[in-house]
Symmetry: C2
Subunit: 599 residues, 2 copies
């Protein structure tokens, strides 16, 4: 076969060299090298992830206020589609806790839980958020995710974890709480706690305790019992399955449903149906903002775990293609009876540790879930909701990181306050308000910081051609020449500050006749800064002072030449600051040369 | 008298040394040095500005949809109060065109023009915007004004000028147009043009032509007639007064009001009344957002002209105190029957050119307007609205700068698109939407730019201890050491990009064992960037690569020491990049030394 084999280097690192199709369909790349041993690794990982995903998919669907089967549907087609379009080799896509909470909050605004409208809203949410992600990917807008700073994201995740845990407490105790903020849930809890069902609690609380123990003590016990580490790991992951089997058996055997224990009930035994999201303009408008939040949060979470895992094996992910992969997965969810999905943190780590080598592991997981949907669902009839609630609580409490607040605060008050605001607003006013407030504050604080650029008045270091801060070094200066080194790009955020700084300084030093702005660190002068420089040039001229520039970078100079600034400039543009000083204060440079020859 | 005389230097330049009271009452500072010749200069300037302000105050009140007398009221107390609190020596405060347009748009949302509610809304607007400005000043939030980049402001002013001119065309032709966007006004114009009043047009259009001619041809003519320049300047400024006298006389003498020419009518002959803004929570909420926009736009315009004029005389203005000065002026306007005011561009320049030396000139202008209000108003009964409309059109068309669009666009596509969006949205959807869209786009583009920091892979310049970009210079590098110089602070905006860049590079160069981040230009590492570095450290470790830092600035290092990052760092923090290379690739440095000794 005369196939030309391109070095894989080209595929991995020179994006512009990639054949267009492989760029958008990464499977064409990894699929070519697929071998027998890869298949074995992927299959083993898929089995382990499937065992984790069965209870999680049911539980997260419940958290989203949807029938359990929707969780199973969301764990099939989206995984296969992500395997085609995603760039991460090990990301495990599917229902996750935070996105399920956001789905519940958004769908709850337009319909009541348990209605067909509610399920339709979840489909529309998945479709819209898929659309948003794909469009962002095609427009290469992945960088938008940068707006969500770490303190905001981590504060949001902590707050969401607390809300989710609180929302599941009711299920654990057999009461019906409601609400999407901690305040609402707490009020609802206080109202309903009197009607708590002791049988449910007697089932749910031990299940919770068992699952917590599984997290900490099960694997060490298995190791102590002599199991090899890998087997111990695998068996330890079956903890939730054990809890489900035990509580389901108890509920069925003791007919606990007759004593008020709420159970999952009948789950349709079927592969996903083909569905079409409702094309209802008003509904779309109502869900557009929540879908945007959901997409961004899901993407940021997913891409950060994907990046971490890829780097461990010196692989790379392409964020813009990830947008397309996750977007396509969500569109697939909306067409197969699912709800919004993204890459989950815990399952991805397990998938990675279990040895998954390609996205095919995800597709095999989907097959595993399909088998489960066709064979296991009758056995889940008596599964108590309380058990699912316990698995959710155990899963999400690991997301809650209250220690991060003090760590962040002690590192930076700005970051700490953005985090606190995000947590506070999310707990009190809900997920969208929380994220918006946090992002808004981060941006304002960032712009505020950017409005005061680092500027130093510099002088000549004797015996050299170097210039250093006059406050920190013993340097030569002329009273008639004020030289300021600007350590950042000049933009609308800091142009005003620069103008004030220069004019204040000139007003304070009446001897000054020349101002030199040393632009060695200026990568950009935007139009606001250009106009500010023009104004500065004029006002300095009016008070008899010349404005000069030095060490202007090439691209910045090219742009300045396109304006009329250089014509109006009262001074010169010097190639180096030393040239500037030689021209404007020749006595300094001469003294220096004399001093040198003397010394 | 044993008064200790502090050098004025202390007052002007060392803010922290200023007595607290003088800081908030600048009059205590300039008032001490007030002399006879200052008084004469200020009086002359005040007379000239008063002549300009009489027709403008009436016209802008009409533009704001308010009775003409409100314009006179807004030209008294606010000027006196600004003289007490403002830091600009030459700013001429009072009604201005753009703020009047914004007042009309905001008040029009809550009441109909001509009603008492409408006048009350204007008072509340003045009060709220005064309050916002004072609070911003006390909290030193003047930097918030930086958010309004030049392209956005200048685009907004151009669009507002076009809207204002369009809105006055109706007055000029004797028809009643309405609307606050160009689209609304154009539609209203098309509907009403059939009812145009020929007599009004016969009065208004020549007045407009005359005023345009006054701008261009009057002063040269006076100079040709032999008037000395200063006198010619003064007489030329009476152009609007001439137009007013002529058209008022014609309207009165020919009883044109009976032919449908709308006239100003009775203006109460009185000093300003004491008024209290309505304390109505709902109204305040409705007007809060418009008041915020109005304050910011007014402040930005005002402070930019104040800065320019101050710098020409090596004086300085303090933006945060300017907020207090303008805020107090607006509160004064709300308590004396006025409406929102700010520092006007044209009048301030005239005030400056006429020789005003202190804010006392503003107070004298207020007295001049007071005299006019008590004596001239009966003479203005027959003043046609068309004449006022003509003065507005001539004044605002000088604000319209369509050439700025192409200048800005050719300099920078980013700035140009922010300007175009602002103009387009303002014309089509109104002032608030326009400004919001422009500011939003500027910030997004700024953050997008900030998300791709300038990073260079560097190597050792042979024979030196300097490091330069490997793409541009012939430098020494080791295949095992990857050194990246980061040219900007590391924050949430660019942390993700840095991580991708480093991991991509490491994935592409399997020989790399050490990554050195050269931080000589990094002024800050925020918490997002810290966590990214931690993650990068971990993932590099997993693939057998050590992470090092070099040339970390003192404050940045202090902060890093407060985190656990340095404990986890797999590599070292080197004082200089040369030290790093000497430790990690000693052969390079040794070769170099050998080469040197050879050479």
């Amino acid at each position: 076969m005369g196939r030309i084999i391109l070095p894989t280097f080209l595929f991995r690192n020179r994006i512009t060299m990639q054949p267009r199709l492989a760029r958008y369909l990464p499977i064409l790349e990894w699929g070519r090298d697929y071998r027998g041993e890869t298949l074995v690794s992927d299959l083993v990982a898929a089995i382990i992830v499937t065992i984790m995903l069965i209870p999680q998919s049911l539980a997260y669907a419940m958290l989203a206020g949807l029938p359990p089967v929707v969780g199973l549907y969301a764990s099939m087609a989206p995984l296969v589609v992500y395997a085609l379009f995603g760039t991460s080799r090990t990301l495990a896509v599917g229902p996750v806790a935070v996105i399920s909470l956001m789905t519940a909050a958004a769908a709850g605004q337009v319909a009541a839980q348990g209605t067909a409208d509610y399920i339709a809203a979840a489909l529309v949410l998945a479709f819209l958020s898929g659309l948003i992600l794909v469009v962002m990917g095609l427009l290469r807008l992945g960088a938008l995710a940068n707006l969500l700073s770490h303190p905001v994201i981590s504060g949001f995740i902590t707050a969401a974890g607390l809300i989710i845990a609180a929302s599941q407490l009711g299920h654990l105790l057999g009461i019906r709480t409601s609400g999407h903020t901690l305040v609402e849930i707490a009020l609802s809890f206080a109202e309903t706690i009197a009607s708590l069902n002791l049988v449910t609690a007697a089932l749910g609380l031990p299940a919770l305790a068992f699952l917590f123990w599984v997290r900490k003590g099960f694997k060490p016990l298995l190791l102590k019992l002599g199991l090899p580490p890998r087997a111990a790991d695998l068996v330890a992951r079956t903890g939730p399955i054990i809890a489900i089997v035990a509580t389901t058996a108890a509920t069925a055997g003791l007919a606990l449903a007759d004593h008020g224990v709420r159970i999952v009930g009948e789950i349709p035994t079927s592969l996903p149906p083909l569905t079409l999201p409702l094309f209802d303009a008003e509904l779309w408008l109502q869900l557009a903002a929540p879908a945007l939040f959901l997409s961004l949060i899901g993407f940021v979470e997913s891409v950060s775990v994907a990046k971490t895992l890829a780097a461990k094996r010196r692989q790379r992910i392409r964020p813009d293609q990830e947008l397309i992969g996750l977007g396509a997965a969500n569109v697939a969810a909306s067409m197969t009876g699912g709800y919004p999905v993204t890459g989950g943190f815990a399952r991805s780590v397990v998938n990675f540790d279990a040895g998954a080598e390609t996205p095919a592991a995800g597709a095999f997981t989907a097959i595993g879930i399909g088998v489960a949907a066709l064979t296991l669902t009758p056995w889940l009839y008596y599964l108590p909701n309380a058990t699912l609630a316990a698995t959710i609580i155990v899963a999400v409490l690991s997301l809650v990181d209250l220690g991060a607040i003090s760590r962040t605060w002690s590192y930076s008050k700005r970051d700490g306050s953005a985090m606190l605001l995000t947590i506070g607003m999310t707990l009190v006013a809900g997920v969208e308000v929380g994220v918006t407030a946090g992002v808004g504050l981060s941006i304002l604080l960032f712009l505020h910081k950017a409005s005061r650029p680092h500027v130093a008045v510099v002088g000549l270091v004797p015996g050299t051609q170097h210039f250093r801060n006059i406050l920190r070094h013993d340097v030569l200066t002329s009273p008639q020449v004020l030289t300021m080194r600007i350590d950042e790009s000049l933009t609308f955020t800091n142009a005003g500050w620069l103008e004030e700084t220069v004019t204040d300084r000139v007003a304070a030093e009446p001897e000054v006749r020349h101002v030199v702005l040393m632009c060695s660190a200026v990568n950009e002068i935007d139009h606001s800064a250009l106009e500010t420089l023009e104004a500065l040039n004029q006002t300095l001229e009016a008070s008899g002072v010349h404005l000069h520039l030095s060490e202007v970078k090439g691209p910045v100079m090219d742009r300045l030449k396109r304006s009329h600034f250089l014509d109006a400039l009262t001074g010169n543009v010097f190639l180096s600051q030393y040239d500037a000083l030689a021209a404007l204060a020749p006595e300094l440079v001469a003294d220096e040369a004399a001093g040198k020859s003397k010394g």
